[in-house]
Symmetry: C2
Subunit: 273 residues, 2 copies
């Protein structure tokens, strides 16, 4: 089910990644990981908008949206799954200076859906790896992801589903591949992503749906929360059942949010049944 | 003179970068940029040792050194120039978890020598882009280089040769693609690279040659210095003539260091003539 990726340079399909790609050399690119259902990507506009914000921050050119979407839907062949798009700055010489006019390289790949979420909720741990504070890159989904790779390499136990990561200053930022929301005193909060972390597409949906507050969160804010969930655009709303020795029972507000997402986004219907 | 890169998976040569490469996806890899002379790389052992330190930090597998060196020398065909080696963690699925056993992908490319250094010395500027503090990745030459790309994109004026970059805390770290040394009160100092920055191969040579001190440096330490030079493994010792409005005349200790490097490393002989 993992199809061969498709490679493009500007408007043209090519057989493989062109030589001297700056994505490979420096992680000089952006990516989006999207949930597809019945051959299309319901959150396409939100993904493309985030890609545009990233392209603006990195001053790199994007391919034409209409063509990328058409190729994405062609690759899905009417099916479900996960679609990944990487866009790099394209070819560059040796060295950091970016060409004045660059033609982006872009790669589409299709992947199976991740395993279903345990019905009891996720088990989490705290990661030792901290996220460095870099406002110039915060929020965008760029291809410099060694911190996430290091954080995710801290455990191999399959009974731990995700890890929460702190910033260099000790505030809670996110899981390695999902955003986090906590319920405290009847109010939902998710960490700011202005210094590190990624502004997730599902995070934006949930902030709006819950009228959630964006703020710095301490470890104790999470551990003392009445409910916690993770979310991302591939897996939707993921209730958290355990964090170290702390446990939570299913919370009605999280279940209700899952139902709202399923109603808003057809890919997530099966998750709730 | 820019030859087609050569791609390898483990021991095998392949035609192009294999699908699902984690270097492309996440910058999950390392690189070395090496000066070659008469078909070989005089600093090979130092480059390989740094690569090994990086591989240890990222827990990724390296290809066999003897094969990489043989292929590198084959690619040089007895000539001079710059040789770049990228080693990535190899293929991975979608998502951050690294495969338990990975076969590295590696890429060799050959590039022309950079333009000769202006005989009067380099003109520098200060960059606005700051380097985030990330001790887990500091010192190693990994492929997450967006900060350097952003810093280098701050100027296009060809009369400015390099930019000095500060850490998030405001101490001087390096140039965008070179380390920096300053002479103060008769003593050479170069910034520590324990929180950000790269432990350059030429930097290590110069620390040893000058018995230089490694310490945090403030902007004023550089501006008040009696002499400043940059260095990297491709361009050797690069005297600095100007930083903003501050100028320096050629300093005998820098000229002497250039001569010592030329004596120790045949590639740099022409630089001094």
């Amino acid at each position: 089910m993992v199809a061969t990726p498709r490679y493009f340079v500007g408007r043209d399909r090519v057989d493989s990644l062109p030589d001297h790609d700056r994505g490979l050399a420096y992680g000089d690119g952006l990516f989006e990981t999207m949930r597809a259902v019945h051959g299309s990507v319901p959150w396409w506009p939100a993904h493309w908008q985030r890609l545009q914000r990233g392209a603006q921050a990195l001053r790199l050119s994007l391919p034409a949206e209409a063509q990328v979407r058409e190729e994405a839907e062609r690759m899905l062949e009417g099916g479900d799954g996960v679609l990944k798009l990487i866009v790099t700055r394209g070819a560059g010489g040796r060295g950091y200076p970016a060409p004045e006019e660059s033609v982006p390289n872009w790669i589409l790949s299709r992947h199976p859906l991740p395993p279903a979420t345990p019905s009891a909720g996720l088990a989490l741990r705290w990661c030792e790896t901290r996220l460095a504070l870099q406002p110039a890159l915060a929020g965008i989904k760029h291809c410099n992801r060694l911190e996430q790779v290091l954080a995710r390499s801290e455990w191999a136990d399959p009974d731990i589903h995700e890890g929460l990561v702190l910033s260099a200053e000790g505030d809670v930022v996110s899981a390695t591949a999902a955003n986090v929301f906590v319920l405290r005193d009847g109010r939902w909060t998710t960490p700011l992503v202005d210094r590190c972390g990624i502004a997730g597409v599902c995070r934006a949906w949930a902030v709006d749906a819950l009228q959630a507050c964006e703020a710095r969160l301490a470890v104790t804010d999470v551990e003392a929360a009445d409910a916690v969930f993770l979310c991302n655009a591939v897996r939707g709303i993921l209730p958290v059942a355990r964090l170290g020795s702390r446990t939570w029972r299913p919370h009605p507000q999280v279940m209700e949010l899952q139902h709202r997402l399923a109603a808003a986004h057809p890919a997530f219907v099966t998750e709730v049944s």
